[in-house]
Symmetry: D2
Subunit: 109 residues, 4 copies
């Protein structure tokens, strides 16, 4: 899904519920931290091997739903902040690659 579609779907539900005025940058930032923690509750006391079996179980649905919640709040927050996610990603990826090459090339000329 395109980010604009995700935001449109998010806003549609917010409007039905009368929640629009709650979706400020500050509240959305807290919501993101809460959703990430809800995701981490599934992983919290497990080894990585157990997380693999978790994803073969009935609970995989809940994990997927948490990932979707995080994606929705992230897209909405970017919109509220006026951030173009595509541009933000391209800049960050370019910076990460530049840094990785610096490290790999060490002090070489």
């Amino acid at each position: 899904m395109e980010n604009s579609e995700i935001v449109a779907a998010f806003d549609k539900v917010a409007k039905l519920r009368g929640w629009e005025q709650l979706h400020t940058a500050k509240n959305l930032g807290v919501a993101l931290s809460v959703e990430v923690a809800e995701l981490n509750r599934h992983f919290q006391w497990r080894e990585d091997a157990d997380i693999h079996s978790l994803m073969q179980s009935e609970n995989a649905k809940e994990v997927s739903a948490e990932l979707a919640d995080i994606q929705m709040y992230l897209c909405k927050l970017a919109e509220v902040l006026g951030v173009n996610m595509d541009l933000a990603l391209r800049n960050k990826i370019a910076e990460n690659e530049r840094r990785a090459r610096e490290v790999v090339n060490g002090g070489a000329p």
Copy 2:
């Protein structure tokens, strides 16, 4: 950017750095929580009006970079877990709409 492009760019840097084996579901979940907190550090002591001016300032770049980091870890985590984000989003959006309509329609027939 497509999620697959984001993951490819993420993996490229991880390979250059030798970080691939660190990117387990559990570690990526913690990384997500850390990146969300780094985002929230910008909002932490501000009112929403001040967040608007933050986004007109030099610091807007850092905020955009944090959003990009969250997006990258989220895409990578979905890949590690074998979650199709498009499907996860469509299911969650459908559920949110259904719930919103139930609330709006109350006990009506």
Copy 3:
């Protein structure tokens, strides 16, 4: 309660449940982040005035329980890491006071 009493009570329950080996530093750090998010769920969409009324309601009990959970995980984590909390607090308070005085005194001699 003293930190040592809190850790003893925590360990007693862990032993009854057979959870001792789960209480590694890394897992306890994730548990802390999850408990803090469970606390923040109560505040997430509220104004500070509404948080005051929350604390007059039935839900105050749940908020208190989340604070207690955070305190228990924090004491246990300090123990696992071998950190003397009293010393850590005295050092941090001294540093915070020193920094505050520097700011207040500005560049004055």
Copy 4:
């Protein structure tokens, strides 16, 4: 240190800095989540064995300082919310013990 001493030290610095009005329940909750993430940054890509060596290194000081920050925000938040931490702890410990015994005793008469 007693919680009241911790809060007094916290308030002294806040007064010197003119930060008192920032310390609302909502902001303190976000501050807690940010400090916990700063702690988790130290553990994020490490195995538990590496965390042990971390605590033998120079960085142990920073970890201790993060624990102290979490403790200070927690005490201040409890005060702002009007929660008696000792009582909250005793209630939560009693509940945890009760639940552990139920599980241990299973369905036995």
